[in-house]
Symmetry: C2
Subunit: 429 residues, 2 copies
């Protein structure tokens, strides 16, 4: 056994409590596996007097980051405060001092990964962030190490638990969006302002991180095309079911000859696809590599203990690397610069739902408009005819996004078309 | 970039070809990630003149292991010949010389893990074996590192592709065992002598490896209770479906206060369980940890490229560790000695199918026999009555295996009972 490795936690919120509990409760096993005890020596909190629902030695609590930074015995900083400020300043300061940094902060990694990695590399420290994507599901290290011999071709992930819970409820209960949003808020799965989740921004940050690792090229949040789930209706869900699909909010990243596709949007996936059965708050990440073929990683995407599990494992690796004097042994893997493919050049199938006048010739005029832009239709269903109005559901063959959008501009100008109610990409066939 | 790391392959069969292809085709990316080119310097084969369906530099081929062993430039030995002899001798010799060993040989690790790890530890070499369990699915490193902060509570795995293919065909087509065995053989999924797969021995070896890592205590193949799928009939599959279950050959390992449960047998799992949707030759391993909760790892369990992917990733890690002078940084994790729980003390639900005389009082006498051994019944279905004979399907509540076996001895002695046709454990509720 080596002498203890000392750690400081920045933050004692949900994830911080999880990390504290795991490092305390499983201390003996953790020490065996690392080869040294891990000691939480300091915990940075804003208010040392607040009740945290946790038995914690109050003498560890401090409001002073510089005391942590200046303590040469503290080798690992665990940033679990979230947000960008002051988390980023603290993280950079820690790395510049050569302290290894473990974080679950997806916003910080997605926005400032480049400068954080530069700081880590300069001082030879570890920068580990398994907890930043998909909570307890091991995915960063599998991509960086276990699947490292592959050229990764595709990632498709359910990486936001809130929206997956909502879409699952809508699918199983036929409920509508606002109803399930209230249920998600009542259960604590959605925040009071749920927009980061339901508009897909949370998923986009995680996808930027995953895509950067998978394709060895820095992808930032601004590269990601994002569409949320707020336009998905009970009717879309029902039609998807009739067509043998389920609707999921997916993060999709793919390497193509025209660049990297990187996008978050509601997606119809076949019921037989492994992602289709991933329900409620569970997350799953489907990865296709040139050698390994199809793999999937499934588990809880958030929460005190699952995310704490990922952070604690990173702390163990950082400690082991320090004991063996090799922090930074697996560093940044963005050694290439690949272009991002413009959305218009995407090729996909599309589901479309239109409100039209119920009169002869309407379908022909719509089909003509699609044909004009070289969008060919795989299926057309006429629904809910009441003699005056009708609803039409179309599924296209594989076409260019730009052609589809051009066709939609033509279609919406047709006098018989009252509304293009929804357009959802279809993947995984 | 460091100077190249030299590797020798022992064997150029299915997995060896995969490793060769991956290290050759993805050489540039692999060099970037490791920090040095990886060079295959020698390949040990029995017959250097055999055609291998592979473009390979014939000057690399050799029949002489000692030339590899004595070559100080060869730092990593990749054992992909399979079997115990001479693989074990070669592996031990390589480790004793301080060469890192990567292997996909589940038989060798399951039977001789202890001595191999002792040799690795003595010389400070790496012993890596991700490819030995579930082909391309990352599971060894996730258990050893990503989930290392957890106390693992349970592993349930579909870890044999042949039997999963067969059970999937039986479920989807209503086919019987011998029919699907022929299909599996025709497709090359089952060997001419399929007994290691269908009798559960292949799965048992993999489970011994997984359980050893999960519970930090050496589990050998002899500790594993094994039952294969040859007694599963189309009728059992159909009744399972009626009861909302599917039948899978599972490897199950669980830590309990009475010791470690470790067993391979056909198992009924609820259709809603994540493992129920894992079909054909796919493998999946469901892991429950005290912190992370439920996770699952899914992918192809065998084959040239999937297993090659796992082996090549291990080679990359071994090379990185050599460059940083830390081979063996993550060593053997069996630092405890835990007892294995005897099968009689298992608690489970059971599905039973009996052939009985179709006359009044039979069910009562059977129920009485079960009650006498404290086995309570959750459901009883009478099937296929023809006036003379009837088939009865029972599902028990959770009971001790010993009580169930004692009850079955009573039941089979009843004059009205012609046969106990099957007994299948029910898990995952």
């Amino acid at each position: 056994m080596h002498s203890p490795v000392k750690i400081a936690l920045l933050g004692l919120g949900t994830v911080g409590r999880g990390v504290y509990r795991i490092l305390t409760d499983n201390a003996e096993n953790i020490a065996h596996k690392v080869g040294a005890p891990l000691i939480i020596a300091r915990i940075l909190v804003r208010d040392p007097h607040k009740d945290r629902g946790l038995e914690v030695d109050r003498s560890l609590l401090t409001g002073d980051f510089s005391a942590i930074l200046e303590d040469p015995d503290i080798a690992i900083i665990v940033e679990v405060m979230g947000g960008i400020h002051p988390a980023l300043d603290y993280a950079l300061a820690a790395l510049e001092r050569g302290k290894s940094l473990v974080t679950a902060n997806k916003d910080m990694i997605a926005l400032h990964g480049r400068e954080l990695f530069a700081a880590a590399e300069a001082s030879g420290a570890d920068l580990l962030f398994e907890g930043s994507v998909a909570g307890g599901i091991p995915i960063i290290r599998p991509l960086k190490q276990c699947l490292a011999a592959n050229r990764i071709q595709e990632i498709m992930g359910i990486i936001n638990g809130t929206t997956n819970f909502m879409l699952t409820r809508m699918t199983l209960e036929g409920a509508d969006f606002h109803q399930v949003l209230q249920e998600a808020q009542a259960r604590g799965y959605a925040e009071a302002d749920p927009s980061a989740d339901i508009e897909g921004l949370d998923a986009a940050r995680k996808l930027a991180i995953l895509a950067s690792i998978a394709f060895n090229s820095r992808i930032t949040i601004n590269d990601v095309y994002v569409e949320g789930i707020s336009r998905i209706t009970a009717r879309d869900i029902a039609y998807a079911g009739e067509l043998n699909y389920v609707i999921k909010l997916l993060g999709i990243a793919r390497e193509t000859p025209e660049g990297i596709e990187v996008r978050v949007h509601p997606t119809m996936v076949p019921k037989s696809h492994p992602l289709a059965a991933v329900n409620d708050v569970f997350n799953a990440i489907f990865v296709r590599g040139d050698a390994v073929g199809e793999t999937m990683f499934y588990g809880r995407g958030a929460g005190e203990m699952p995310t704490g599990s990922a952070v604690a494992a990173d702390v163990m690796d950082a400690a082991r690397n320090i004991l063996h004097k090799v922090p930074g042994i697996v560093g940044c893997t963005c050694y290439e610069q690949k272009p991002v493919k413009p959305m218009g050049r995407l090729e996909s199938m599309y589901y479309l739902r239109l409100q039209v006048a119920d009169r002869p010739g309407v379908l022909a005029s719509i089909a003509y408009a699609f044909g004009d832009k070289e969008v060919s239709l795989a299926s057309v269903l006429q629904k809910h005819t009441d003699g005056e109005k009708a609803e039409i559901v179309l599924v296209t063959h594989r076409v260019r996004e730009q052609n589809l959008q051009d066709a939609l501009r033509l279609v919406e100008r047709l006098s018989a078309v009252n509304e293009i109610s929804n357009c959802i990409r279809v993947e995984g066939n």
